[in-house]
C-alpha cells in the first residue's frame, strides 16, 4: 500500500444553472493575459453539445487519452515511438478555429467617431492579429437550450443512440439539457504528463495537482493533444502551455479555488481523498466495464489505521488526514456512491467527480400508436408526425427513470463508459432521497413508500438525511474541507530553520540590523 492524498472536486450537476460565473472568475484571475485569451481553464458547456473545443470528446479526431494494449495501456496519439515520429508535426493538433479566435470591440469608435448619418458601431477586432474580423465562434457558441443542430446533434456521445432516439431527444416537447462545468481533472494517470517530451508536467506530491513547469516547457504541445479533456492550452504569446492549476496559491492559503468560491449554485465541493498509488497501473489497464468500480475501490478509507500509517509514512500531514475524514467528496463518491468520473474510458483516472443530473430525467417518453389520433385531425391543418407520448405520470416507483425522456445511454456515455446500470443506480438514490424528503416535508407520500424507496437503493435514513444536508443545506465549511499548506514544511525544504534562531521570522530573510 502506498497511500497519497489528492485534492478532489465534486460537481453536483442537478444544482448547476449554467451561469458561467465560475468561468468568468477563473478568466479574470488567470487567463486575461496576452496569448491566453482563448483559454478557458474552467468552462461550462451545454449537454448535449459538442463542447469546447469542438468535439473534444471525439478521440478519433484528437487522439487523446490512453488505449488498451495487451495487458497494459499506451497513449493513443503520443508515446515514445509515435511521439518521436510526430514531434515536429503533431497531426492531431487542434487549431485556433477548433477553439475560437478571441476578439474585442473597438469601443473607442463609439465615442470618438465624427458626426455622420449613422450610429457609430464598435467593430469586432481579433485579439491575435488586431485586425477587424467576422466573429465566427465563441466559447459557448450555439450553446444553451440544446443549441443549434450544428452544436447539439454533433455531440460525440450521441453515437450510441439510435437515429429515432436522437430525433426524439430534440423534439421541442421533450427537449432536455443540462450543464457540464469542466476544469482540469487532475488525473491519477495523466496523459499530458506521459506525453510531454520535455518532462515539464508533473503531479504535485502533496495534493495531486497537475502542473506545467513554465521554465521547462518547450512548446512541443504534445500535452494539448494527449489530454482527452483538452484542458491544456498553448499560449501563443509566451510559447508555453498552460492549464488549470486548481488555484493552488489560494488552496495553500486556505481559500477555495476561484471557480468554487464564486459558484452561485454552490454545486462544487472540494475535499481530500486518500488513494493507493500502487494500484494506478493495474486500475488504468483493467477491463473497461470495471474501470469505474476499480477507480472508486482505489480510494481508501481515511479511518483505517493501516491507511493512516501508510499515508503518514509518505509524508501526508495530520491535518490532511483529518481533512480526508471529513471530506465531502469522499462521502459523495465512496460512502454514498452518488458520483461518477467524467469519461473514465479515457483511462486517465480523472479525480474530479460528477453527481449525474436527475432533472432532465423527470418525465418519460413512450412509443405508442397514434393512428387513432391521426384520423381525428384534419390533414391540412394538423397531423401527427410521430408516435411518441410525453408522459409525466408514474405508477411505478422508478418508472420515470427507467423510461426517462433523457436516454440513460447518453448519461452513461459521459460518466460510466457506457454502463447504464451505474447511472441508473445513482439516479435512483437521488430519487429515493427526494421521495423520502417529500414524505418528511410535504407529507403526500406515505412513510411506507418513502422507506421502501430508501430500502430499494440501500440507503439508511441517516444516510438520506446526510445526503440531504450536504446537497441542500451545506455551509461553506462543509463544502470546502482543505487544510491550508504547512508553511514551515515548505521553508524546511529550502533551509534549516535553526539557522535563523535569534533572527526574525522564517524564510530567506536578511539578518536584522541592530543599533550600534
Amino acid at each position: 500500500m502506498n497511500v497519497r492524498s489528492q485534492v478532489s472536486m465534486l460537481f453536483h450537476l442537478d444544482k448547476c444553472i449554467g451561469c458561467h460565473t465560475c468561468s468568468v472568475a477563473c478568466k479574470n484571475i488567470w487567463t486575461d493575459r496576452k496569448g491566453s485569451e482563448y483559454m478557458w481553464w474552467n468552462n461550462v458547456e451545454t449537454k448535449p453539445g459538442t463542447g469546447y473545443p469542438g468535439k473534444w470528446e471525439d478521440q478519433e479526431i484528437y487522439k487523446g487519452g490512453w488505449q488498451k494494449k495487451g495487458d497494459g495501456i499506451e497513449l493513443k496519439g503520443a508515446g515514445k515511438k509515435r511521439g518521436l515520429v510526430n514531434i515536429f508535426h503533431n497531426p492531431n493538433m487542434p487549431n485556433i478555429d477548433d477553439y475560437y479566435e478571441p476578439f474585442t470591440y473597438k469601443y473607442l469608435d463609439l465615442i470618438e467617431s465624427p458626426e455622420g448619418h449613422d450610429q457609430p458601431t464598435a467593430r469586432p477586432v481579433s485579439l491575435i492579429t488586431g485586425k477587424p474580423i467576422d466573429i465566427k465562434m465563441g466559447p459557448n457558441w450555439d450553446d444553451d437550450l440544446s443549441g443549434s443542430p450544428d452544436y447539439a446533434r454533433n455531440d460525440p456521445n450521441l453515437k450510441e443512440l439510435s437515429p429515432a432516439e436522437q430525433e426524439a431527444m430534440f423534439q421541442l416537447e421533450r427537449m432536455a439539457f443540462y450543464y457540464l462545468p469542466r476544469i482540469c481533472n487532475h488525473c491519477l494517470n495523466p496523459a499530458c504528463v506521459a506525453a510531454c517530451p520535455s518532462g515539464a508536467i508533473y503531479k504535485r506530491g502533496e495534493d495531486g495537482v497537475v502542473l506545467i513547469n513554465q521554465d521547462v516547457c518547450r512548446a512541443w504541445r504534445m500535452c494539448v493533444t494527449a489530454c482527452p479533456y483538452k484542458k491544456t492550452y498553448y499560449n501563443w504569446h509566451t510559447g508555453k502551455s498552460e492549464k488549470c492549476i486548481l488555484c493552488y496559491p489560494r488552496i495553500e492559503a486556505g481559500l477555495a479555488p476561484a471557480c468554487m468560491h464564486s459558484c452561485v449554485g454552490r454545486i462544487r465541493y472540494l475535499g481530500v481523498m486518500l488513494y493507493d498509488a500502487d494500484r494506478i497501473h493495474e486500475v488504468a489497464s483493467c477491463d473497461e466495464s470495471a474501470l469505474v468500480k476499480q477507480q472508486i475501490d482505489m480510494i481508501m478509507d481515511p479511518f483505517d489505521s493501516e491507511v493512516i500509517a501508510s499515508a503518514k509514512a509518505n509524508g501526508v500531514t495530520d491535518s490532511t488526514i483529518k481533512a480526508a475524514q471529513y471530506s465531502p467528496t469522499y462521502k459523495f463518491v465512496k460512502e454514498w456512491n452518488l458520483a461518477l468520473p467524467l469519461h473514465p474510458e479515457y483511462r486517465t483516472l480523472p479525480m474530479l467527480f460528477y453527481v449525474p443530473p436527475l432533472l432532465p430525467v423527470m418525465a418519460s417518453m413512450r412509443e405508442i400508436n397514434q393512428d387513432d389520433q391521426k384520423e381525428k385531425l384534419s390533414s391540412v391543418s394538423k397531423k401527427w408526425d410521430d408516435n411518441w407520448l410525453y408522459d409525466t405520470s408514474t405508477e411505478e416507483l422508478w418508472g420515470s427513470i427507467e423510461q426517462a425522456r433523457f436516454p440513460l445511454k447518453y448519461l452513461a456515455s459521459l460518466f460510466s463508459a457506457g454502463d447504464e446500470e451505474k447511472v441508473k443506480d445513482r439516479l435512483k438514490k437521488m430519487m429515493a432521497v427526494r421521495i423520502y424528503r417529500r414524505w418528511k416535508t410535504v407529507g403526500d407520500v406515505t412513510e411506507e413508500k418513502a422507506k421502501h424507496a430508501l430500502r430499494d437503493v440501500g440507503l439508511s435514513t441517516k444516510m438520506a438525511d446526510d445526503i440531504y444536508y450536504l446537497t441542500a443545506l451545506a455551509k461553506f465549511e462543509d463544502r470546502f474541507v482543505i487544510p491550508p499548506a504547512h508553511r514551515e514544511e515548505a521553508v524546511e525544504l529550502l533551509e534549516f530553520t535553526g539557522d535563523h534562531k535569534g533572527e526574525v521570522g522564517f524564510g530567506p530573510s536578511k539578518s536584522v540590523q541592530r543599533g550600534s
Binding site: 459538442t50 473545443p53 469542438g54 468535439k55 471525439d58 479526431i61 484528437y62 508535426h89 497531426p91 492531431n92 493538433m93 487542434p94 487549431n95 478555429d97 477548433d98 448619418h117 449613422d118 467576422d134 465566427k136 465562434m137 457558441w141 450555439d142 443549434s148 450544428d150 452544436y151 454533433n154
Partner: protein
Amino acid sequence: MRYGLFQINRNLVSRIGFLVLLIITGGFSFSGIAGESGKAVFQQTCVACHTIGEGRLVGPDLKGISQRRSKAWIVQFVKESQKMIKNGDPEAVAVFQDYNKLIMPDQNLTSGQIEDVIQFIKEVSGTTGLESKAKISHSSDTAGSKNISKEDIAKGQKLFQGTLRLKSKGAACISCHSVRHDSVVSGGALAKELTTSVSTMGSAGVKAMISNPPFPVMKAAYKDAVVQSDEADALVAFLTHVDQIHETQQPVSYGIKLALSGLTGFALLLGLFSLIWIRRKVKTVNTSVFNRQVKSESDPHYFKRYDHHHND
C-alpha cells in the same frame, strides 16, 4: 617570389626598382634605364600572351607595334581595350575579331610603364630574333611540343579538381572554373568555362596563362602561389584532353533542368509528407458552423442591401 614582390604594389615596386636601378647603374643612358623597366613589365605582364618577333601566341606578335599603331592608341588599348571595342574603334574591333574574340584583360599599368614597354619592344624589334630570345625568358617555349601521356592527363585532372594539391598551395582550378567532362562535376562558375580553352588559345597560351596569369583576380589569387612548370604542363595536358573529347561528354547545365529537378524533388517530398501524415486533422471541427454563417465581407448583397435601405 621574384614576380610576387613586384605584384604587391606594382607602382611602388617599380618606383623603388627605378631608384635602385638608378643608383646601381648610374652610368647608364636614360633610354637604357627605360628599357630595363619596360623589360621587367613585359616579362611579368605581357609575355603570357604576346611575343616579340616569334609569331602570334594568344595575342598578336608585338614586333614593330610602334610602327603600326600610335603610342596613344596602344596606351589606351592596354588600359581599356573593352571600352574601345564597345565604342567601335575600327582597329580595336579588327584585332578583337582577328583573335577569336578573346578579351585582353585591362592592365593596371601607368602610362609611363606602358611607354617603357613600347620603348622596350622598339629596342628589341630592332635586334635579331636570336638576340631577343636570349633576352626574354618565355615560359611557354617548352609547352605544346610534348606528347600528352595518360599519366599527365590523370595528374592534370587531379590538380584541376584539387584532389592533388598544387605544390605552391594555390587554390585548385575547380574553385572558379568548370569544364565539360563527365567525371568533373560542379565546377565553379566564378570564372571562364575552360572546355575549349586549348583550341581557342593554344596550349602554349594556356600554359602561359596558368604560370603567369594576366587576369587581375587570378593574378591576385596566385601571386604567392605560382603554379610550377610541371604542374602547368599536366593541367594543359588535361585541358587539351578535355578539349578533344568534349563533344562526347554530357553538357554542363545549370539552366531549366536544374530548376525542374528541384521542383520535382520538392513535389515528391510534399507527396511523401502528405502520405506520412495522411490521417492528419486537416480542417476545423467547426466547419459546419462556419459554413452556415453569412460573412459581411464575402456577401456581395450585404452592403447593397444596406445602401438600399439607407436611401429609402
